[in-house]
Symmetry: C2
Subunit: 353 residues, 2 copies
C-alpha cells in the first residue's frame, strides 16, 4: 500500500530536511508587532499604518518571506489555480493549447497545473485525483481516446468544481465545451479535394468513440453527398491513432481496386505518416494521391510536400476555455452553464493536394 509506505518512510525524514520556513510570526517577533498586523500589511489590507507596512515589507524581503500557500488555501478553501488535463504531448497541438491557456490564466490571476494522461484512461482518472488533491478551482480537460466512463468527471461536479471540456469532448457530461467546427472543417477539406478532381477519397480516422472523429467523419460524408459521390464504407478506416500503425492502413488503401486518389486524415500526425509511406511506395503526391490533414501542426510545413490541412485557432481555443472556466467558477454551482462554443477552422491549402 502506498499510504502506509509513505506513512512509515517519508514523512518523518522531511521534517528534518527542510529548513525552518520564515513565517509571519518571525517577522512579527522581529518587529515587535502582532502577526495579524504583519498578515494585513503583507496582503494589502487598507487598515495598516504606512510606516508599519513599509517595515514589514522590507523585512519580508530581507527574510525572503514566502507565504505558505497551504495555510492560505486551507483557510480560504480555494487555490486560485486551474488544472488542465490533456491526453497527450506528442503532437504540438496540446502543448500549444497549454501555453495559451497558461497565459490567459496568468492574466486572470490564476496558476495552471498541467497533467498529461498519455492517452490512458487510468492515468486520466489518476490525474483527476491529483486535481482534486490540489483543490484546483476549476479544470480544463480533453479526454483520452480510451475514455468511455465519465464518473471521474462527475466527481468534479459533485464537489462544486467546474470543468470545461475542450477538443476531446463527450456528450455524456453536462459542462461548457469548446470545440472547433470539425464537421465544417472536414467538409471544406473534402470539398476541396473533390474540386481538385479527386473522385475516390478515403478517410483515415481515429476511434469511433472520440466525438471529434465522429464529427469530422460527418463532414467527410456531407461533402461526398453534396457532390453526389456515393459513400463507400470501405474507404473509411478507424484506427487507434498510434502513428506506428499508419503504414498498415496505407497499404490497405493502396491495395484497393480502384485505388483511392485522395486521403483525408484525422490529424496532421496521421497525414504526415501517410505521406511518408506513400512516398516509400513511390506514389506521387498529390498527383497519384492527395493527402489532407487536420490541425495545422508545425509538422505540416516540414513534410514534403507541405501538407494541406484544416487549421484550428489554437490560441483562441486555449483562451476561450480558460475564460469560460473562470466565468463558471464565478457562478453558483446551481447556475452553471453547459453551453458549447464552436470556433472556426480555416482550410490551408498547400502542396499535398
Amino acid at each position: 500500500m502506498k499510504k502506509s509506505d509513505s506513512f512509515i518512510t517519508k514523512e518523518n525524514k522531511f521534517k528534518q530536511m527542510k529548513k525552518h520556513q520564515v513565517t509571519i510570526i518571525d517577522i512579527a517577533r522581529e518587529l515587535g508587532i502582532s502577526k495579524s498586523t504583519v498578515s494585513r500589511a503583507l496582503s494589502g489590507h487598507p487598515n495598516v499604518h504606512e510606516q508599519t507596512r513599509t517595515k514589514v515589507l522590507r523585512l519580508a524581503e530581507e527574510f525572503e518571506y514566502q507565504r505558505n500557500m497551504f495555510s492560505v488555501n486551507l483557510m480560504r478553501n480555494a487555490t486560485l489555480t486551474l488544472g488542465i488535463i490533456v491526453p497527450e504531448f506528442h503532437r504540438s497541438f496540446f502543448p500549444q493549447v497549454i501555453m495559451s491557456a497558461q497565459e490567459a490564466a496568468k492574466e486572470a490571476g490564476y496558476n495552471l497545473v498541467i497533467a498529461q494522461s498519455d492517452e490512458n484512461y487510468e492515468t486520466e482518472v489518476a490525474n483527476t485525483k491529483v486535481m482534486l488533491q490540489y483543490q484546483v478551482d476549476g479544470v480544463l480537460i480533453s479526454l483520452t481516446k480510451e475514455t468511455q466512463n465519465f464518473d471521474h468527471l462527475k466527481q468534479f461536479e459533485r464537489r462544486g468544481i467546474p470543468i470545461v471540456l475542450f477538443n476531446r469532448v463527450c456528450d455524456q457530461i453536462m459542462a461548457p465545451k469548446v470545440i472547433v467546427d470539425d464537421q465544417l472543417g472536414a467538409f471544406a477539406a473534402v470539398e476541396h479535394l473533390i474540386k481538385t478532381g479527386k473522385k475516390r477519397i478515403g478517410h483515415l480516422t481515429g476511434p469511433e468513440t472520440l466525438k471529434v472523429c465522429k464529427n469530422r467523419k460527418e463532414g467527410y460524408f456531407d461533402a461526398l453527398k453534396k457532390y453526389n459521390i456515393a459513400p463507400d464504407d470501405d474507404l473509411v478506416i478507424s484506427y487507434d491513432l498510434n502513428p506506428g500503425k499508419v503504414k498498415i492502413y496505407v497499404n490497405h488503401f493502396l491495395a484497393m481496386e480502384p485505388r483511392p486518389d485522395a486521403l483525408f486524415c484525422i490529424n496532421d500526425t496521421t497525414a504526415v505518416e501517410v505521406i511518408k509511406h506513400l512516398k516509400i511506395k513511390g506514389l506521387k503526391i498529390p498527383e497519384d494521391i492527395a493527402v489532407v490533414g487536420f490541425s495545422n501542426d508545425s509538422v505540416s510545413t516540414f513534410i514534403e510536400p507541405q501538407l494541406t490541412t484544416v487549421a484550428q485557432p489554437i490560441e483562441l481555443l486555449g483562451r476561450t476555455a480558460v475564460s469560460m472556466l473562470i466565468e463558471q467558477i464565478a457562478r453558483d454551482p446551481d447556475k452553471w452553464k453547459a453551453n458549447t462554443v464552436v470556433l472556426k477552422t480555416t482550410l490551408i491549402i498547400r502542396d499535398s493536394s
Copy 2:
C-alpha cells in the same frame, strides 16, 4: 497590485462556491468515533481495530472522501511533489522529457508540477516562485536562453529545496546536473561530415550564454582540429533560436565565398528551418550542402531529406534527473551532492548528409 486585487474580489466569493468538503470529522461523527481514529484508519496506522478500519474505509468511499492535501502538507511541511521548469514547449524535446520524468516521479510516489518559461527570464523567475508556493520537495529545471542571473535558483538552496539542472545547465550553480555529451556528440556529427568529404562546414548555434551551445561548438572545433581543417570564425554564427530568423542566416551562409558545403545546426528545429530555406534557394541536400541537427526530434524524420542528427537519450535523461533529485531530497542539505551525469548521444545518419 495583484495582492490587494485578490484580497478584495476573489476570496470571499469562493467560500460560498465550493460545497462543503467532507472531512474526517464528518466520517467520525457518522460513525460515532473520534476523528483521530478516522485519521489513523485512513493513513494505515497499525493501531486500529480491523473492524473500525473497515467501517471507516467504507464510509470514506461512500462519501468520496478526499484528504485535504493542504492540511496534510501544512502538517508535514512536505508535499511529495516535484516541480519541473522547462524553457519551452515548441520542440518535442521537453514534452518528452516531461513525460518520462512524470513516469519516474509517479513510480517513486511523487507528483509532478509542470511549468513552462517561454524562453523568458521573468517567467522563469515567476515559475520558481510558483514552485516555492507549492512547496515542492525538489525541482528539475532547464534554463531559458535568457537566463544570466541565477539568484532565483539559489533561493531553493537557501530554503533547503534541492534542484537538479538538466539540458540547459549553468556553471554558476552548485547542484546535480544531467546533460548529454554535447561536445562528443557534436564532434561525431562534424567528423561524419568531414568523412563524407565536406571541407567547409558552417555552424549555426544558439546564444553564447547557453552552455549546451558552447559545448557543441567545442565539439565542432575539436573535429575540425583533428582533421586539420583551419577553423574560420565567420563560419560560426550564433542566433537567438527564434526559428523565424533562420532564413537570414542561411542567406548569409549562402552569400559566402566560398560557400559552405555543410551546416551543423544546434538543434533539429534549426536544421529543419535551414533545410526548408536551402530548398527554396534551389540547393541540393546533401550534395550542395549537407545539414546535420541535434536531438533527433520527431521532425527530423518528417523533413525531406530526412535529417542526420545526434540523438539524445530523452527517456533516460528524464528518469535520471528524477532519480538524482529524489536521492538529493533524501540527503541532508549539508550533504548535498553536485555531481554531473553525462549521458551518451548517438549519431543517426539519415539523408541530409
